[in-house]
Amino acid sequence: MDTASLIFYLLAALLVIASLLVVFLRNVVHCAMALVSALLLIAVLFVTLQAPMVGVLQVMVYAGAIMVLFLFVIMLLNPAALERQRGLWWGFGAMLALMLAGVLVPLVMTNDLPADPVAATELFGSPEMLAKSLFSDFVLPFEIASVLLLVAIIGAVVLAKREN
Protein backbone atom coordinates (compact mmCIF):
# COMPACT_ATOMS: atom_id res chain seq x y z
CA MET A 1 0.00 0.00 0.00
CA ASP A 2 1.42 3.39 -0.95
CA THR A 3 1.56 6.43 1.28
CA ALA A 4 -1.40 8.21 -0.34
CA SER A 5 -3.84 5.38 0.34
CA LEU A 6 -2.44 4.92 3.85
CA ILE A 7 -3.10 8.60 4.59
CA PHE A 8 -6.58 8.32 3.08
CA TYR A 9 -7.54 5.28 5.15
CA LEU A 10 -6.22 6.93 8.32
CA LEU A 11 -8.16 10.15 7.62
CA ALA A 12 -11.31 8.22 6.68
CA ALA A 13 -11.24 6.15 9.88
CA LEU A 14 -10.67 9.24 12.03
CA LEU A 15 -13.42 11.13 10.19
CA VAL A 16 -15.97 8.36 10.74
CA ILE A 17 -15.02 8.13 14.43
CA ALA A 18 -15.29 11.92 14.85
CA SER A 19 -18.69 11.99 13.11
CA LEU A 20 -19.97 9.17 15.31
CA LEU A 21 -18.79 11.09 18.37
CA VAL A 22 -20.71 14.19 17.18
CA VAL A 23 -23.90 12.14 17.10
CA PHE A 24 -23.44 9.91 20.14
CA LEU A 25 -21.72 12.03 22.80
CA ARG A 26 -24.21 13.38 25.30
CA ASN A 27 -22.51 16.60 26.38
CA VAL A 28 -23.10 19.38 23.82
CA VAL A 29 -19.63 20.91 24.27
CA HIS A 30 -18.03 17.52 23.61
CA CYS A 31 -20.16 17.22 20.46
CA ALA A 32 -18.89 20.61 19.31
CA MET A 33 -15.27 19.55 19.89
CA ALA A 34 -15.84 16.33 17.91
CA LEU A 35 -17.37 18.39 15.10
CA VAL A 36 -14.31 20.68 15.03
CA SER A 37 -12.05 17.65 14.63
CA ALA A 38 -14.29 16.24 11.88
CA LEU A 39 -14.18 19.57 10.02
CA LEU A 40 -10.39 19.76 10.35
CA LEU A 41 -10.05 16.18 9.01
CA ILE A 42 -12.24 17.13 6.03
CA ALA A 43 -9.98 20.15 5.46
CA VAL A 44 -6.98 17.79 5.34
CA LEU A 45 -8.85 15.59 2.84
CA PHE A 46 -9.45 18.72 0.71
CA VAL A 47 -5.72 19.44 0.72
CA THR A 48 -4.92 15.86 -0.35
CA LEU A 49 -7.41 16.35 -3.21
CA GLN A 50 -5.49 19.34 -4.58
CA ALA A 51 -7.86 21.94 -3.17
CA PRO A 52 -5.59 23.86 -0.77
CA MET A 53 -7.56 27.10 -1.07
CA VAL A 54 -10.84 25.42 -0.13
CA GLY A 55 -9.07 23.58 2.69
CA VAL A 56 -7.85 26.86 4.15
CA LEU A 57 -11.35 28.35 3.79
CA GLN A 58 -12.74 25.27 5.52
CA VAL A 59 -10.46 25.79 8.52
CA MET A 60 -11.15 29.53 8.67
CA VAL A 61 -14.88 29.60 8.01
CA TYR A 62 -16.07 26.28 9.42
CA ALA A 63 -13.64 25.22 12.12
CA GLY A 64 -13.07 28.88 12.98
CA ALA A 65 -16.05 31.17 12.60
CA ILE A 66 -19.04 28.81 12.58
CA MET A 67 -17.78 26.67 15.45
CA VAL A 68 -17.01 29.73 17.58
CA LEU A 69 -20.59 30.81 16.94
CA PHE A 70 -21.86 27.39 18.06
CA LEU A 71 -19.73 27.45 21.21
CA PHE A 72 -20.86 31.00 21.92
CA VAL A 73 -24.52 29.95 21.77
CA ILE A 74 -23.81 26.88 23.93
CA MET A 75 -22.20 29.13 26.54
CA LEU A 76 -25.03 31.65 26.30
CA LEU A 77 -27.81 29.10 26.78
CA ASN A 78 -25.88 26.71 29.04
CA PRO A 79 -27.95 23.61 28.28
CA ALA A 80 -26.71 21.88 31.42
CA ALA A 81 -29.41 19.23 31.60
CA LEU A 82 -28.45 16.21 29.55
CA GLU A 83 -31.16 15.16 27.16
CA ARG A 84 -33.12 12.01 27.88
CA GLN A 85 -32.68 9.11 25.52
CA ARG A 86 -35.37 7.09 23.88
CA GLY A 87 -34.49 3.55 22.97
CA LEU A 88 -37.09 3.33 20.24
CA TRP A 89 -35.92 6.47 18.46
CA TRP A 90 -32.27 5.41 18.53
CA GLY A 91 -33.14 2.11 16.89
CA PHE A 92 -35.40 3.81 14.36
CA GLY A 93 -32.83 6.45 13.39
CA ALA A 94 -30.01 3.94 13.14
CA MET A 95 -32.15 1.70 10.93
CA LEU A 96 -33.07 4.58 8.59
CA ALA A 97 -29.44 5.63 8.31
CA LEU A 98 -28.34 2.08 7.53
CA MET A 99 -30.98 1.97 4.80
CA LEU A 100 -29.72 5.29 3.41
CA ALA A 101 -26.12 4.03 3.41
CA GLY A 102 -27.37 0.78 1.88
CA VAL A 103 -28.89 2.76 -1.00
CA LEU A 104 -26.02 5.23 -1.48
CA VAL A 105 -23.07 2.83 -1.39
CA PRO A 106 -24.31 0.34 -4.05
CA LEU A 107 -25.31 3.33 -6.19
CA VAL A 108 -21.71 4.54 -6.06
CA MET A 109 -20.34 1.08 -6.82
CA THR A 110 -22.51 0.50 -9.90
CA ASN A 111 -21.72 3.80 -11.58
CA ASP A 112 -18.93 4.05 -14.10
CA LEU A 113 -16.61 6.47 -12.34
CA PRO A 114 -13.07 7.51 -13.22
CA ALA A 115 -10.57 5.47 -11.20
CA ASP A 116 -7.68 7.88 -11.61
CA PRO A 117 -7.66 11.65 -11.33
CA VAL A 118 -6.96 13.84 -14.31
CA ALA A 119 -3.36 15.02 -14.35
CA ALA A 120 -3.56 18.32 -12.54
CA THR A 121 -1.68 21.40 -13.57
CA GLU A 122 0.44 23.36 -11.13
CA LEU A 123 -2.30 25.96 -10.77
CA PHE A 124 -5.17 23.54 -10.06
CA GLY A 125 -6.96 24.52 -6.84
CA SER A 126 -4.88 27.64 -6.36
CA PRO A 127 -6.49 30.96 -5.37
CA GLU A 128 -5.79 32.32 -8.88
CA MET A 129 -7.71 29.56 -10.61
CA LEU A 130 -10.57 29.68 -8.13
CA ALA A 131 -10.84 33.46 -8.42
CA LYS A 132 -10.73 33.31 -12.22
CA SER A 133 -13.64 30.86 -12.22
CA LEU A 134 -15.51 32.76 -9.50
CA PHE A 135 -15.30 36.14 -11.22
CA SER A 136 -16.02 34.97 -14.77
CA ASP A 137 -18.50 32.07 -14.84
CA PHE A 138 -19.96 32.53 -11.38
CA VAL A 139 -20.20 36.31 -10.99
CA LEU A 140 -23.97 36.35 -10.52
CA PRO A 141 -24.10 33.64 -7.81
CA PHE A 142 -21.21 35.42 -6.11
CA GLU A 143 -23.16 38.68 -5.93
CA ILE A 144 -26.28 36.83 -4.79
CA ALA A 145 -24.21 35.16 -2.04
CA SER A 146 -23.24 38.60 -0.72
CA VAL A 147 -26.93 39.60 -0.59
CA LEU A 148 -27.69 36.29 1.17
CA LEU A 149 -25.05 36.99 3.83
CA LEU A 150 -26.44 40.49 4.36
CA VAL A 151 -29.93 39.07 4.80
CA ALA A 152 -28.53 36.50 7.26
CA ILE A 153 -26.87 39.24 9.32
CA ILE A 154 -30.02 41.34 9.49
CA GLY A 155 -32.16 38.28 10.21
CA ALA A 156 -29.89 37.13 13.05
CA VAL A 157 -29.94 40.58 14.66
CA VAL A 158 -33.72 40.83 14.40
CA LEU A 159 -34.34 37.27 15.65
CA ALA A 160 -31.95 37.34 18.59
CA LYS A 161 -32.86 40.84 19.72
CA ARG A 162 -34.48 41.01 23.13
CA GLU A 163 -38.13 42.00 22.80
CA ASN A 164 -39.46 44.67 25.10
Partner: protein, 100 residues
Protein backbone atom coordinates in the same frame (compact mmCIF):
# COMPACT_ATOMS: atom_id res chain seq x y z
CA UNK B 1 -3.80 6.52 -6.08
CA UNK B 2 -7.21 6.03 -4.45
CA UNK B 3 -10.21 5.57 -6.76
CA UNK B 4 -13.07 8.04 -6.67
CA UNK B 5 -15.39 5.38 -5.19
CA UNK B 6 -13.64 5.49 -1.84
CA UNK B 7 -14.22 9.21 -1.40
CA UNK B 8 -17.88 8.82 -2.37
CA UNK B 9 -18.39 5.92 0.03
CA UNK B 10 -16.69 7.86 2.84
CA UNK B 11 -18.92 10.85 2.27
CA UNK B 12 -22.04 8.63 2.02
CA UNK B 13 -21.16 7.15 5.41
CA UNK B 14 -20.57 10.57 6.99
CA UNK B 15 -23.83 11.85 5.47
CA UNK B 16 -25.74 8.88 6.91
CA UNK B 17 -24.21 9.54 10.34
CA UNK B 18 -25.41 13.15 10.04
CA UNK B 19 -28.92 11.90 9.21
CA UNK B 20 -28.85 9.73 12.36
CA UNK B 21 -27.93 12.82 14.37
CA UNK B 22 -30.83 14.82 12.97
CA UNK B 23 -33.27 11.97 13.60
CA UNK B 24 -32.36 10.79 17.08
CA UNK B 25 -30.91 13.74 18.96
CA UNK B 26 -33.22 15.81 21.10
CA UNK B 27 -31.11 18.94 21.36
CA UNK B 28 -31.54 21.64 18.73
CA UNK B 29 -27.87 22.66 18.80
CA UNK B 30 -26.69 19.10 18.12
CA UNK B 31 -29.27 18.76 15.33
CA UNK B 32 -27.82 21.87 13.69
CA UNK B 33 -24.30 20.42 14.11
CA UNK B 34 -25.43 17.21 12.39
CA UNK B 35 -26.73 19.30 9.48
CA UNK B 36 -23.29 20.93 9.22
CA UNK B 37 -21.80 17.44 9.13
CA UNK B 38 -24.09 16.47 6.24
CA UNK B 39 -23.19 19.64 4.32
CA UNK B 40 -19.52 18.80 4.77
CA UNK B 41 -20.04 15.26 3.49
CA UNK B 42 -21.53 16.76 0.33
CA UNK B 43 -18.63 19.22 0.07
CA UNK B 44 -16.26 16.25 0.11
CA UNK B 45 -18.00 14.74 -2.94
CA UNK B 46 -17.80 18.09 -4.73
CA UNK B 47 -14.04 18.34 -4.13
CA UNK B 48 -13.44 14.68 -5.04
CA UNK B 49 -15.33 15.04 -8.33
CA UNK B 50 -13.55 18.32 -9.06
CA UNK B 51 -10.21 16.55 -8.65
CA UNK B 52 -11.10 13.43 -10.64
CA UNK B 53 -12.79 15.31 -13.49
CA UNK B 54 -10.16 18.06 -13.54
CA UNK B 55 -12.61 20.96 -13.25
CA UNK B 56 -12.55 23.87 -10.82
CA UNK B 57 -16.34 24.21 -10.80
CA UNK B 58 -16.69 21.77 -7.89
CA UNK B 59 -14.43 23.92 -5.74
CA UNK B 60 -16.48 27.01 -6.58
CA UNK B 61 -19.63 25.08 -5.59
CA UNK B 62 -18.04 24.27 -2.23
CA UNK B 63 -17.28 27.98 -1.82
CA UNK B 64 -20.97 28.77 -2.23
CA UNK B 65 -22.05 25.90 0.02
CA UNK B 66 -19.82 27.39 2.73
CA UNK B 67 -21.46 30.81 2.31
CA UNK B 68 -24.94 29.27 2.54
CA UNK B 69 -23.91 27.10 5.50
CA UNK B 70 -22.62 30.17 7.35
CA UNK B 71 -25.92 31.97 6.74
CA UNK B 72 -27.85 28.86 7.79
CA UNK B 73 -25.86 28.47 11.02
CA UNK B 74 -26.31 32.15 11.92
CA UNK B 75 -30.08 32.13 11.33
CA UNK B 76 -30.52 28.70 12.95
CA UNK B 77 -28.67 29.72 16.09
CA UNK B 78 -30.62 33.00 16.28
CA UNK B 79 -33.87 31.01 16.08
CA UNK B 80 -32.58 28.63 18.79
CA UNK B 81 -31.81 31.58 21.09
CA UNK B 82 -35.23 33.04 20.41
CA UNK B 83 -36.99 29.70 21.07
CA UNK B 84 -34.99 29.16 24.26
CA UNK B 85 -36.09 32.57 25.56
CA UNK B 86 -39.73 31.63 25.12
CA UNK B 87 -39.75 28.00 26.22
CA UNK B 88 -36.58 27.57 28.36
CA UNK B 89 -35.87 24.34 26.50
CA UNK B 90 -33.88 23.03 23.56
CA UNK B 91 -35.92 19.86 23.14
CA UNK B 92 -37.71 19.77 19.75
CA UNK B 93 -40.30 17.42 21.29
CA UNK B 94 -41.61 20.28 23.40
CA UNK B 95 -42.14 22.59 20.43
CA UNK B 96 -45.60 21.40 19.51
CA UNK B 97 -47.69 24.56 19.70
CA UNK B 98 -49.07 23.92 16.21
CA UNK B 99 -49.76 20.25 16.87
CA UNK B 100 -53.43 19.43 17.34
Amino acid sequence: MIALHYYLILSAVVFAIGVVGVLIRRNLIVILMSIELMLNAVNLTFIAFSRYLGSTDGQVAVFFVMAVAAAEAVIGLAIIISVYRHRQSLDPQEMQLLKW
